[in-house]
């Protein structure tokens, strides 16, 4: 089923010159864009939507992405006309908005065991950047001369890129045989140059860093700060808090843990929590309550801003609603069911899972089968496959995170897709998928000859 591009339906070139309220030299000559009617727009996007997998289509066990159901009532709240205010409104005139903003800061602080939270970072990676900027500001404020950030080899790519973006050198830390931080290697890696250790816990194969107290001591003793990557927080809700483990800074992925929609790639939000000592470095402004009024205040030693305004507001509304819907009991149960599903799924698949005990996700290995091929074949069995070939510590990794929303039957369907694909012949795997909208797309070729707009597509045709 092929849906033409809008430009292939009807494209119009509008000559602008004479109708412009501006002088000729300030006005563009013409504009060529699709001109289609409202019914056609409706059909175009309806059809395209039907060519797209989503959480509401079926299992979506992308490891480290926490693809959970997005409650729809949260959308209604984000659409409340009273929430549609401009960021330059006076604080006095948007007390409701600030109240919710403040409540969410508090909720997240409570969940993370942190003392203060900023909601400004518009994504997880932006949260990391904010966190590392806070660490940097802390070090600069204290006259510490630090140049390195230590990151386990199994960490998310964003950790490395973030450290580099903040101007740090990256020191990569190998895992030990059990798949966790190698404490001895860490001791060797830390130095006076260590600005921070960025850690994901449970880590990217789902293992809790059992030595976390010792790790924290090592980092703190070196004068570094301990940063928590919140990607896997869904495993720990109400059961363990980064603040209690010795982390100084953390980010939250509200589109993972707190069920805000992933939206085909975003928007998410990446609030950052810090311990009391670091609160003064938070981005400006913070929402604080003073005598029953909500006010915007700039922390004294603020790093400045990490978003033009106050972050992805519509997303934050949804996260607030989800958290207050669940409360303590719901949050605790969320982690319980997420971990249960991951363990049950692992118990039902024929692939080996080299590390454990894992929590909400696990990295199976497809052994001598190509993990990407197995994944493509899983598409034919009606599920979204796991993240493949990452983390690299597991050969041919299939990093799998079913989340709490899958039923027992649904997890069994997933297991069946795994097992059938894993059992199929090499030929079948290599020619998969066959039952999808598109057949296999060769990404290498696509990258060699990039066609990035319909303009160059026309040239090709």
């Amino acid at each position: 089923k092929h849906e033409p591009l809008l430009s292939e339906k009807n494209e119009t070139t509008l000559e602008i010159g004479d109708d412009s309220p501006l002088p000729d030299e300030l006005t563009r000559d013409s504009l060529t864009l699709p001109e289609v009617s409202e019914p056609e727009v409706a059909r175009h996007y309806t059809r395209l939507s039907q060519m797209n997998w989503s959480i509401d289509s079926g299992p979506y066990p992308l490891g480290s992405c926490t693809m959970k159901y997005n409650p729809r009532f949260t959308e209604d709240l984000a659409a409340d006309p009273n929430a549609a205010v401009h960021p330059d409104r006076s604080s006095e005139s948007v007390q409701g908005t600030l109240e919710l903003y403040h409540d969410l800061q508090e909720y997240l602080a409570e969940i993370g065991g942190m003392d203060a939270v900023t909601l400004q970072p518009p994504a997880g990676a932006a949260g990391e950047f904010t966190g590392i900027l806070i660490a940097k500001a802390y070090h600069e404020h204290h006259g510490n001369d630090k140049s390195e950030v230590i990151i386990p080899a199994s960490a998310h790519g964003t950790n490395f890129a973030t450290a580099a973006l903040a101007g740090y050198d990256v020191v990569e830390l190998p895992s030990n045989e059990e798949g966790r931080v190698d404490v001895e290697a860490l001791e060797a890696a830390v130095s006076d140059d260590t600005a921070a250790l960025m850690l994901t816990n449970p880590n990217t194969v789902g293992l809790f860093e059992r030595d976390i107290v010792e790790i924290a001591e090592i980092v703190h003793d070196s004068g570094g700060v301990l940063y928590y990557d919140g990607a896997n927080l869904n495993a720990l809700l109400g059961r363990a808090r980064p603040g209690d483990m010795g982390f100084d800074i953390m980010h939250y992925n509200v589109h993972k843990t707190f069920a805000t929609p992933h939206g085909g790639g975003g928007p998410g939000a990446g609030p950052v929590g810090v311990v009391e000592e670091l609160e003064q470095y938070l981005p400006k402004p913070q929402v604080r309550e003073r005598d029953g009024q909500y006010v915007l205040e700039d922390p004294e030693e603020s790093i400045g801003k990490v978003h033009g305004f106050l972050g992805n507001w519509l997303v934050l509304i949804k996260a607030h609603a989800y958290i207050s819907r669940l409360g303590h009991e719901g949050l605790v149960d969320t982690s319980a069911k997420a971990v249960l599903n991951a363990n049950y799924l692992a118990s039902q698949i024929d692939l080996e899972v080299p590390y454990g005990p894992f929590h909400h996700e696990f990295a199976a290995t497809s052994g001598d089968r190509d993990a990407a091929d197995v994944a493509k074949r899983m598409l034919d069995y009606g599920v979204h496959p796991p993240t493949t070939k990452w983390p690299e510590m597991v050969p041919e990794a299939m990093l799998t995170e079913p989340t709490e929303i899958e039923s027992k039957e649904s997890v069994e369907d997933l297991a069946e897709a795994f097992n059938r694909a894993y059992a199929d012949s090499d030929e079948t795997l290599e020619s998969a998928p066959n039952r999808t909208t598109a057949a296999r797309i060769d990404q290498a070729t696509a990258a060699r000859n990039p066609v990035l707009s319909w303009h160059t597509l026309d040239d090709e045709a």
Binding site: T13, S90, L207, V332
Partner: protein, 442 residues
């Protein structure tokens, strides 16, 4: 509708029991490998509520906001978004999907993003548009790091106008800091680039010159070709900040020699949302391998049919790690989808009409305020887009406060400078605003 446990997990007691047995665990807590010393044994101080209770609680909060008619802009604009955009963008297949790691089952979203990129390419005249940054500020930051990568030997200065939103400059400085760049300003002349002063300021330390058009004060610039030439002469990137509505009417950036277009693409598709945005990012093909963010390309599938896929991923953090062009992962794809939908509904005619109205409304409203005693508008003797400055004889903060009491929100820019923004969503209240200005001036 349970309030204990999560309503979003489907497990019956029997399910849990059967699953635990298969796993070989006695109960759920056995599955957690959390050392005692860091386990949280308390109760989170967050009370569970059912769906209607959450809704009424949040509605109650929002109802506390004053019902003001906003004449606010300065980087965050309100244009009417057709209902169909809401209905289509909320379709679960779009809203609840994620990045298109498996293109064979995500052709729909990929095509939408390809169409978004194509529209931006048409509007800017540049060959490459990525499929979103967080907002205009971070897009500007990414342009600076791009400049730093491209010009890494020769200099360390990023030049920006004195008329720049503080927040945007602060975000830019944070991006520049790690890249070893310094942000410096050039001066403005009657609201637009002072080309002579800029020429004096330019040297080979400058890796990029940033201009906005329209500026944060709504001024439409008139000498940008000269800026392009200056940037070119000094081997600096010419970075241009704007938005898709303005692009529909203003001279195409490519014609001005622009290297990178950044800005607020959310002027289409997103209603006022407390500053949430969509970062526009477009550049020349020669910088393709240095582009930050996701790119969708058209290709063929094994069956020979056209198919779309994320491409050039080796630029990205999940592959290139610390040598990636950016740390961005989750972006603003869904907003880009809304922007594409809005543009599709407007078509070129609707888009140009919207831009034309932005000029004409600003002209009309500033003219009417100018006629009032005690006010002068626009302050800059320029063409304006959507917004303009008003000089007030009385202190601006007092005027703005009085206007708020009357039910209107405007910006305070300086002691005696106000700023007013008018679009299709508040143009019907122009008469009332003028009357309110007259009232508060007394």
């Amino acid at each position: 509708m349970t309030t204990g446990g999560t309503p979003f997990a489907p497990h019956t007691d029997a399910d849990v029991e059967a699953m635990l047995e298969e796993i070989g665990a006695g109960d759920e807590s056995e599955l957690f490998d959390i050392p005692e010393e860091v386990a949280f044994e308390g109760k989170l101080d967050i009370e569970a509520r059912d769906e209607p209770a959450v809704k009424s609680d949040v509605s109650r909060m929002f109802a506390r906001n004053d019902d003001l008619t906003e004449f606010l802009g300065r980087g965050h604009y309100s244009h009417y978004v057709p209902s169909l955009v809401d209905h289509l963008s909320m379709r679960a297949e779009f809203l609840t999907s994620y990045t298109q790691y498996q293109p064979e089952i995500t052709q729909g979203f990929l095509q939408v993003l390809f169409e978004y990129q194509s529209m931006i390419v048409e509007l800017t005249g540049l060959e490459v548009a990525n499929c979103s940054m967080y907002d205009g500020a971070s897009a500007l930051g990414e342009a600076a790091t791009l400049a730093s990568r491209l010009r890494r030997v020769s200099g360390d200065t990023m030049l920006v106008p004195t008329h720049l939103r503080d927040g945007k400059q602060s975000v830019l400085e944070n991006y520049c800091d790690g890249a070893g760049l310094v942000v410096e300003t050039y001066s403005m002349d009657d609201g637009a680039v002072d080309v002579g002063a800029l020429e004096d300021r330019m040297d080979d330390d400058v890796v990029a010159v940033y201009v906005e058009n329209p500026t944060v004060r709504g001024v439409i610039q008139e000498e940008l070709g000269a800026v392009g030439n200056l940037a070119d002469e000094h081997d600096a990137l010419f970075v241009y900040g704007t938005d898709p509505v303005a692009l529909a009417l203003l001279e195409q950036p490519a014609e001005l020699g622009v290297d990178v277009v950044v800005g607020e693409a959310d002027t289409l598709g997103l209603p006022t949302s407390f500053g949430m945005g969509l970062g526009l990012f477009a550049t020349k093909e020669e910088y393709l391998r240095q582009v930050p963010g996701r790119l969708v390309g058209a290709s063929d599938d094994d069956a020979g049919n056209r198919a779309y896929t994320l491409t050039l991923q080796t630029r990205e953090q999940h592959i290139r790690k610390e040598r990636a062009t950016s740390n961005i992962c989750t972006n603003q794809a869904w907003v880009a989808l809304r922007t594409a939908m809005h543009a599709a509904l407007l078509g070129p005619t609707g888009l140009v009409d919207l831009a034309t109205d932005a000029v004409e409304n600003a002209s009309e409203l500033s003219g009417r305020i100018d006629e009032l005693s005690g006010f002068r508008a626009p302050v800059h003797d320029r063409h304006h887009f959507r917004e303009f400055l008003v000089r007030s004889d009385q202190p601006a903060a007092a005027i703005a406060g009085d206007l708020e009491t009357e039910g209107y929100a405007v910006h305070v820019v300086d002691d005696h400078l106000l700023q007013v923004c008018v679009t299709d969503t508040n143009e019907a209240a122009m008469d009332d605003l003028v009357a309110a200005f007259e009232e508060v001036a007394r």
